[in-house]
Amino acid sequence: MRIGIFVHGLPPRSTHGVESHTQAFAEALVREGYSVEVLAPCCLPGRALYSQRREVRGSGYGVTWVQVASPADPRHMARAVGAFLDRERPDVVHLQHMIHLSAAAIEEVEQRKIPMVYTAHDFYPVHETLNLMRPDLMPFECGDLEMQARVNQARGFLDKLSGLGDHHGTVLLDQPGFADQLGEASAATLRAILDGQRDGGLEEARNEVRLRAEVMRETFAKVGRHFATSGMLARRLGSALGRAVELRPSGIRSDHLSALPPACSHGGPLRIGFIGGLLKHKGVHVLLEAFAQLDRSAELHIHGASHDRVYVRLLRERAAEVGAVMHGEYSRGELPEILAGLDLLVVPSLWIENAPYVIREAFAAHRPVLVSDTEALRESVRDGEDGLLFAQGDAVALSAALRRLVDEDGLFGHLVTGINAPLSIDAEARAYGQTYGDLVHEAQVEKPLPVLPASVEPFAERYAALEILPTRDLFEKVQSGLEKLGTCMGVAQAPADLLTQAVSSGSPTRDLLLDHDRALEWLRKSLADMEHAREEMEKRAGWFQEQLASAEKRAQWLSQQVDHGESTTGVERDWLKESKQDLEQERDWLRRQQAETEKTNVWLRESLDQAEQEAQKMREWAEDSIQKAGEETEKANQAMRDAAAETEKANAAGAEAAEDAQKAQEWTAESREQTTAENEWLKETAEELRRENLWLQEKADDGDAAITAAQASATEATRALAALGQEREWMRGVLESRQQELRWIRERLTGGAVPEGEDPSKDHAAIFAAHEALERELVAMRSHEQWLYTELATIASILESQGPGSEALVADELPRALASMRAAAARSMGELVWRRKEMLAAREGSDRLLARLAAPELADRIRSWELTPGPPAPLPPVVDPELASPEEKESEGLHRSAPDGILSDDEDES
């Protein structure tokens, strides 16, 4: 993956925190396998504005320097950035700092649909005053555009004052130990401006600030992910920009710092240090005052420099007074040595601060840090754990903190022990690598694919694969391909020969450069000619001046002569008058000529200036115009074609949209109706389902009850059946015995004597009738037994059919079967009672017959026929009047009243 990094400077040209960190970060990304190209502005003598120079650093990343003016022209800067992007083709652009690069650079990235990441190190997206520091060294709130306008106005005022040097927008007012930089009047004016009591230019400043804020807000909204290196910065920027700003602390390279000798291991006095730019808002003067108040044995070493010569001079003077050592400028490579010479670091910042790298570097070297107590610095240093906090700008408090370190036993060691290893630069690179990957993935998902004919797609894919390559990779690919082509054609040559032949036979680039040289030569000559003309004009102006002076003298003399004209003749007077008029005319003409000459001179001077500027820009202009003309024409053609196509598409899209809208309305109406109907149907269905559910529940309950009753009935029926079986067996034995007895009786009757007065035939007929009745009963009993079996089988099948869905069958069939069985059981009981009665009647008849006919021994035998009691009668069935049908009730009645009709009619009904 190729990462483009935009930053406002890089070592060795700029060695401040963000620039040095960006360099380490680029190196870490290279170690993680990324291809890195850094774009940074520069201002070097002898280079055309916005020209670019690329260099490759030893650690494997490229740096492109863009020559910029201050302030940068957004239009030119955008073109320069565009050229960089087209050449390097980064997959992601990481904005580290945009100062000097102009926000227009972000637009260029956005136009190319390249995802962007921004890491905020200060308040650049909201304020021109990056550290939110007023000129009087008081902080103001992020988003306070009114104060920003006053600050701008105040800075404009300070710029006009002499004697402040490169003041960096701040002055020392009422700082103890330092001379007042401003006079009383200027200080009062400055305060009045900051209090909003000076109108001059304030409204204009307000408009500019407001406009910048709006542009920045819109521009930074195009960035995919925003990070800040401290929580304080993330919160305040997020609030001002109206979007999420995530906290992502910066890492540092610590391998060269961790092995330094321990602090305070030298046995000498405490070595206090400051490392950083000597700018007023860094509060070095506060540290010097604190050191002056420190009545303990200690050393103070100040490392750093700045262009604020006045402030540095004041610092030097004060340092000399208090015995501090000013070491001056340092390079990044000297940092281990510097930290080795310190026991602790002080960061006495007067601004709200962010997340200074120097604190983490000190921690990496196991040096505790004393910092101003600000919201941001509290995130970096834990009071009493790895450092100490003191009231911001308070030299007394700082001095007291330093005194504690000297006086309190074990405090210094405790702080050293409490230091945690800072985040490594490699860990930071890995975290951002993950973010880059996510953004590229999102961009690929979001990127709409152009609709092309299928036959063109493979070619288009190949084109796209080449299009994303950086120019140098493309060039390398072509060179590699040309080598193969040379071999294939049998014309391969040594590269040097090839280059010589190719260049000697002419090259458009060489022709272009020659053209530029010729154009520059022409410009130089024109400049010389104009310079000569200007000199001539100045000479001429001088001559006119002399002539004018002479004419005016003569006119003055003539006027005097006219004034004294009384003594002269009329002719002389006329001559004098005419001469005076002529001279006046000449004088006017000379004045006009002088004015014209002056104008010409001014024009020439302006022309000369312009020509010089033009000459400076000529190379750039010539290069750009020649190179861009073709591109612009191409773009214009393309734009016209695109515009035509877009118009056509827009028309089509408009028509389609209207049609779609119509369809959508219809569909919506239809859907609404359908939805209403569907809702109704759903309500009804739900109600039905609820009812069905209730019904099923009832059925289930009924079924359960029916099953329970059926099971009880079945048990009863089985028991009744068994009793009936026993009775049947007993009855069968009785009948058999009766039949034998009857047969015997019949023999006796046919062969025996009949007592007198008796009619044996009558008894005989009665016995026969009883016999026949008994036989019929026997048959009926068998039938009844068969019927009972059938009923039992029915009940069994009903019981077996118990299961899901059988409730209806159980509910319908079972009660009826049970009722039938109960009726049958009742009928059987009735029959048994009736049969007993019959048997008793038969016995009485037999007794009477025996008494008349049989011998005593026969009578005894017959008496021995006394019926033995049968098996116990089954319990009478419980007939549920609700379950028994009217027919069943009626059939029970038939049984009782008509024993002859036994089973004849009821069988069918059951």
């Binding site: 050229a83 087209d86 050449r87 152009p450 609709v451 092309l452 004919p453 299928a454 036959s455 063109v456 493979p458 070619f459 288009a460 190949r462 084109y463 080449l466 299009e467 120019t471 140098r472 493309l474 060039f475 690919k477 072509v478 060179q479 391909g481 040309l482 193969k484 082509l485 040379g486 294939c488 054609m489 049998g490 014309v491 090839l498 280059l499 032949q501 190719a502 260049v503 036979s505 002419g506 090259s507 458009p508 680039t509 272009l512 190179q627 053609n637 393309q638 074609r641 196509a645």
Partner: protein, 315 residues
């Protein structure tokens, strides 16, 4: 009896162009009365044309629908295979024929030495700008074409380097036997140049027939659906591929190689990325170009001789 012609129009969604071109063509074919065939090959892969043509030109145009978009060359072969006539006339949808254009073409094809013919193709109807009337040459090691101004009074057939793909007549079976256009040059452009150069180098002729006139609204088809940068890339890549395919002398190869090397240097130094991309695209196809070159076999004319023979100004 005059030879029958199978007219094949490979088309994308060119309904607006066909609305203008088909009626003229139908009238011409009916006027000729030789039972010629008229086929539109729908190469959209979406069956966009059949119903539309059936409604607009019922029973007069056959439509062949390709299942997928295969490009101009494949669509032409599809149409040619399904034709039955002796001659194949390939037309672009944006070519509008002028009355009487067909018969002179058919007559010119009677000569077996003639490989292919094109009518005089006037760019947007401008008689001063005949697309067919150009010469090709190798200038500074680069294969280039130079437009020539035609003589409006001359009706004699003129040798041209290649038949214009958008309006060319060949013998159908011969074209199919040669495999149609070289797939090396897919998706488009320079297929016709390669066809013509191959014909000339094989000792055949390619002619422009001034008495047959059509109008071409150039790139009215591809240009509408493919971005210009892709069209340009295809043209410049294929220019190199065709040159490599037909380079046949060590001197010419050396001269070409030096020119290309210099162009690459200039493009690299001047950040002219597009030129580098064109070269890279061609160089990626070097192997395929070599294979195509070896399929040419022995030739009767050198490239130089072919270009001289095909120069209209010498005709």
């Amino acid at each position: 009896m005059s030879q029958r012609v199978a007219v094949v129009i490979p088309a994308l969604d060119d309904r607006d162009l066909l609305t203008q071109s088909l009626p003229l063509l139908i009238d011409e074919l009916e006027a000729r009365g030789c039972d010629d065939e008229l086929t539109v090959v729908d190469d959209t892969g979406q069956d966009l044309l059949a119903a539309w043509i059936a409604e607009r030109f019922p029973g007069r145009v056959r439509v062949i629908v390709r299942e997928s978009c295969g490009g101009f060359a494949k669509a032409l072969v599809t149409g040619a295979r399904l034709g039955t006539a002796e001659l194949l006339l390939c037309l672009n949808p944006d070519v509008r024929v002028r009355p009487g254009f067909l018969t002179p073409l058919v007559e010119a094809m009677v000569d077996p030495e003639v490989h292919s013919v094109s009518p005089r193709v006037l760019l947007n109807g401008d008689v001063q700008r005949a697309e067919t009337h150009q010469r090709m040459l190798v200038d500074g090691g680069r294969l280039v074409s130079q437009p020539l101004t035609p003589d409006p009074d001359s009706s004699e057939p003129v040798p041209i380097p290649f038949p214009l793909g958008g309006a060319m007549m060949v013998r159908r079976e011969e074209f199919l036997a040669e495999g149609g256009f070289d797939p090396l040059l897919a998706p488009f452009y320079f297929e016709d140049t390669d066809l013509g150069l191959t014909a000339w180098r094989r000792g055949r002729k390619v002619l422009e027939i001034p008495s047959s006139v059509v109008e071409h609204h150039h790139r009215g088809t591809i240009g509408r659906v493919v971005p210009e940068k892709l069209v340009r890339a295809a043209i410049e890549r294929n220019r190199l591929l065709v040159h490599w395919k037909h380079l046949d002398s060590k001197t010419a190869a050396h001269e070409h190689y030096l020119a290309l090397y210099r162009d690459a240097l200039d493009a690299g130094i001047g950040d002219r990325r597009e030129e580098l991309i064109w070269m890279a695209l061609a160089l990626e196809d070097l192997e395929a170009a070599t294979a195509s070159r070896s399929r040419l076999g022995s030739m009767q004319r050198t490239l130089e001789a072919a270009l001289v023979a095909a120069d209209p100004s010498r005709g």
